[in-house]
């Protein structure tokens, strides 16, 4: 084990020099790691629990053509060339390719770079030891050897080989195996692209594995899980949109989540061979960033509602052109993976424009969501810039891509925005419902009030009508009878018996007026019965026999108190006429319904008196007949008289339905 002069030759001053260089560029973690390495160098027999951190290596590059599989065993001594000491992490920059050299895709110009790590002699440990490489990068293949034996090789494709996945390689896998003293890393890549490795760790599991785990979670699992969660929420938004097509924000949210998911595949896929070709995978994941920025642009438009037409066109145009131009259908054009560095520059420019314009518009309309999102977009562009530098090996390659974290934060912002919209919509609905209920209540109250007012008016109208009716009746009947009686009594031309007759007539008038106030419920017979009940004693006293021959008749719906009193008065008049003028001995009262012409109820009052001339009575007689006619007209009824020497037949025809009454 003496053929590793390089490790021996690292003297103290060299170490410190390198240490100082690293100190300027690296994080505290690396610095601490370096101290550990320093300790291992000064004390070769270190405690087994302390992991070794390699901040130095020696490299040897061998140029070739085409990719070649790594040998199963290799001895550092077999490699010819001069080993150069380098500090880790170490970036391999793309080489300028001599124009004379023809570079075709079947056998590209490649270079194999060997890293050699000298491991101090370690005491046998109870636990197996592991090699931990936080990051490595090549557009080809990586292979790891321990004491000349192949321990690990990346076995996916050349471009998508899992370069974002930290390596965790077991060293001591056979019984009694010693920890290797030399670690060789073989990095094969095209000459025109860069590559590199981070610093390397070696140690027992319990002291080292947390570093691997933390890195794996942050660099691989977190982007994977968050993008999946984002997509799940996006699907929810999609379903919302499918039901509410006018809410295009939900569709945009889904699109953002989808593009972000596609993009995030970059960060965790590649350990195994991809199910689709490298070209398509590259096309999808690189273009997804363009799509994402375009979607975010329209999302911002939605938030500030002042879409800039020129930017809409530019963003759409650039996105479509790049998406089409980079389709892996055209053999002539280099694929997007090769062009990605250039594409990302275009992307950064576009993203910055979108974020800046979005921020300005959002500030104008004071859209909090818009400001928030656009600001993060600008910050995200800085992240993107850093990622671009990392991709092109301009910054320490041991760092992680920040794009995935920028996506996570963006995811939270988007979710927050959608959450606010969603909750806002629910609140709106609640408020609308509440105000609706209130308005309904107000309307109900209004309605009740107006209903009450209407009823009051109706009531007042009824009262007033009733008053008018009674006034009229008193005036025409009772009043005039009493005044004329008074005149006669004043002149002494009336004996007591006559006065009593007049007064009895007045009382009968009053009784009928009172009876007319009782509801008769459309029952004409009840009305006739009442009349008989009131006039019966008077007829009896005159000795006239009454023959009551009423038959059941249809109800008269229009029989209100006013109409009832008119009918009572008409019939009362008929009786009075018979008693006063005809000297009849029998009165016959009959009812029947008739359906000739129209539907009528007919009341006939026939007497066996001496009769009278109807014409004379109407023209120069008293007010009796004309009163009957007037009242009959008022209720839409007809009255008629047939009279001869053997008696008179008085007829009252009443329409059955009210509409006919109205027509008259």
């Amino acid at each position: 084990m003496t053929d590793y002069p390089a490790s021996q030759s690292l003297d103290k001053s060299n170490f410190y020099k390198t240490h100082a260089t690293l100190w300027e560029r690296n994080s505290l973690r690396d610095y601490l790691g370096l101290l550990v390495l320093g300790a291992t160098l000064w004390h070769p027999q270190v405690q087994a629990s302390e992991p070794l951190h390699f901040a130095f290596a020696e490299i040897l590059s061998i140029e070739g053509r085409g990719y070649s599989p790594p040998p199963y065993t290799i001895n550092a001594g077999d490699l010819h060339g001069e080993w150069q000491p380098v500090a880790l992490p170490h970036a391999l920059l793309p080489q300028r390719i001599d124009a004379a050299l023809h570079d075709d895709s079947s056998s590209p110009l490649t270079v194999v770079t060997w890293y050699r790590l000298q491991v101090p002699k370690l005491a046998p440990a109870a636990e197996p030891r592991y090699l931990y490489i936080p990051r490595w990068k090549t557009d080809g293949q990586i292979a790891v050897y321990g004491d000349s034996r192949l321990l690990y090789q990346s076995h996916a494709s050349m471009e998508w080989n899992g370069w974002n996945l930290p390596l965790w390689i077991a060293l001591d896998e056979t019984a009694g195996a010693l920890t290797p003293r030399v670690i060789l890393l073989r990095v094969e890549r095209p000459r025109k692209s860069g590559g590199g490795i981070s610093s390397v760790w070696l140690g027992e599991e319990n002291s080292l594995v947390w570093r691997y785990r933390v890195r794996d979670v942050l660099q691989v699992q977190l982007p994977f899980m968050s993008s999946a969660a984002f997509l799940a929420l996006g699907l929810f938004a999609l379903f919302v949109w499918l039901r509410q097509r006018d809410q295009s924000l939900y569709l945009l949210f889904f699109c953002v989540s989808l593009t972000s998911y596609l993009r995030s595949m970059h960060f965790y896929m590649g350990a195994e061979r991809l199910p689709i070709s490298d070209d398509w995978f590259s096309w999808l994941t690189v273009n997804s960033l363009f799509w994402m920025i375009a979607t975010v642009h329209f999302f911002l438009n939605y938030l500030h509602r002042r879409p800039p037409v020129w930017l809409n066109r530019t963003v759409s145009g650039v996105t479509v052109v790049i998406s089409i131009a980079t389709l892996p259908l055209f053999e002539a054009l280099p694929n997007i993976y090769i062009l990605s560095a250039l594409a990302y520059v275009v992307l950064l420019t576009m993203g910055t424009a979108v974020a800046t314009v979005g921020l300005r518009k959002s500030l104008q309309v004071r859209s909090r969501d818009g400001i928030f999102l656009a600001s993060w977009g600008l910050l995200g562009m800085l992240f993107g810039l850093y990622d671009w530098l990392l991709q092109n090996n301009y910054v320490n390659i041991e760092g992680s891509y920040l794009g995935s974290y920028s996506n996570i934060i963006a995811f939270l912002i988007f979710t927050y925005i959608m959450f606010r919209r969603y909750v806002g919509a629910i609140e709106d609905v609640k408020q609308v419902n509440a105000s609706l209920a209130m308005r309904l209540q107000a309307r109900e109250a209004e309605l009740t009030q107006s209903h009450e007012r209407l009823r009051e008016i109706e009531h007042r109208q009824t009262l007033s009508q009733e008053r008018q009716r009674l006034m009229q009746d008193m005036h025409d009947g009772l009043g005039s009878s009493l005044t004329s009686a008074l005149r006669v009594v004043e002149h002494g031309r009336m004996d007591e018996g006559e006065v009593a007759q007049v007064l009895k007539g007045c009382i009968d008038d009053l009784k009928l007026a009172i009876d007319s106030m009782e509801p008769v419920e459309a029952d004409l017979l009840l009305l006739l019965a009442t009349l008989r009940f009131r006039l019966g004693p008077r007829l009896e006293s005159t000795g006239i026999a009454l023959s009551w021959e009423v038959k059941n008749i249809p109800a008269l719906d229009w029989l209100d108190p006013k109409n009832a009193l008119h009918i009572l008065r008409i019939l009362q008049e008929a009786f009075t006429n018979i008693i006063k003028h005809t000297q009849a001995t029998v009165i016959r009262v009959a009812t029947h319904a008739t359906h000739e012409n129209n539907d009528f109820v007919v009341v006939t009052i026939t007497d066996n008196g001496r009769g009278f001339s109807v014409e004379d009575a109407l023209t120069c007689g008293g007010k009796g007949l004309s009163n009957q006619l007037r009242r009959a007209v008022a209720i839409g009824a007809e009255v008629g008289w047939e009279s001869n020497g053997h008696g008179t037949c008085f007829t009252l025809r009443l329409p059955i339905s009210h509409t006919k009454l109205n027509e008259k």
């Binding site: 009895k504 009382i507 009053l510 009784k511 009172i514 009876d515 009782e518 008769v520 419920e521 029952d523 017979l525 009840l526 006739l528 019965a529 009442t530 009349l531 008989r532 009940f533 019966g536 004693p537 006293s541 009551w548 009423v550």
Partner: protein, 227 residues
């Protein structure tokens, strides 16, 4: 019936503040050989006081008394003089006055403008178990009992204590609403006129019981009475 033995005279008690009607009635009763006037009271208070005397056969009460309603006198008489025929005197025989008197326990009414012979006739008729009725009152009673029928599904409901009208009673009332006199109804139903009038009396009694049951029911639902 504990009728005073000294004669078959109908003893009439009068509660009436109208002097003219008082006189008319005193005259009419005086002219009637089978009637004597037991007492005359002009106020509600005196009318109630008169109930402490020996029970009259017919009590004639005016509703509008100067110191209160004659209804109170009717109620008191209905309990104190259980065998007495109570009659309300009214100007118009209008439904409002008559119905509340019937519900208080009266079994007839007398129109104040009736001729003297008519008054005596009515008192006699009431005494012998008949009751007068007008078509409007008949209609009102029919409706009252019909409502009860509707409110309770059972044809007879002894639980509520409300009596129902018999078919004959209902028939009588229906004839009356059509204007037929008790004589005519008697012919149509093949009974005597007196029977028709006793039907009416029974109907009035049911109305009174009915209204009392209703009052108890009301009180019970309002929690004024328990059980």
């Amino acid at each position: 019936m504990q009728r005073v033995s000294n004669s078959s005279q109908i003893r009439v008690a009068l509660v009436e503040d109208d002097v003219h009607f008082q006189n008319a009635l005193i005259e009419a009763i005086g002219a009637a050989p089978d009637m004597t006037l037991q007492s005359v009271a002009g106020t509600r208070a005196l009318g109630l006081q008169a109930l402490d005397q020996i029970q009259a056969d017919v009590l004639l009460v005016d509703l509008g008394l100067p110191d209160g309603s004659g209804i109170d006198v009717i109620r008191a008489a209905h309990t104190k003089w259980p065998g007495c025929n109570i009659m309300v005197s009214t100007t118009f025989g209008d439904e409002l006055h008559v119905m509340q008197s019937l519900e208080a326990g009266a079994s007839g009414y007398l129109l104040k403008d009736s001729a003297p012979e008519r008054m005596v006739f009515e008192i006699r008729s009431l005494y012998s178990g008949g009751s007068p009725i007008s078509p409007l009152i008949a209609r009102q009673i029919l409706m009252r009992f019909r409502q009860d029928d509707k409110s309770a599904a059972a044809p007879l409901e002894p639980a509520s204590g409300k009596p129902a009208l018999s078919a004959r009673e209902q028939e009588v009332l229906e004839y009356i609403t059509k204007g037929f006199t008790s004589d005519e109804i008697a012919v149509m139903m093949s009974v005597s006129r007196h029977t028709v009038l006793t039907y009416v009396r029974r109907i009035y009694a049911k109305l009174e019981v009915n209204s009392k049951a209703e009052a108890i029911f009301e009180a019970r639902t309002q929690g004024l009475l328990n059980d």
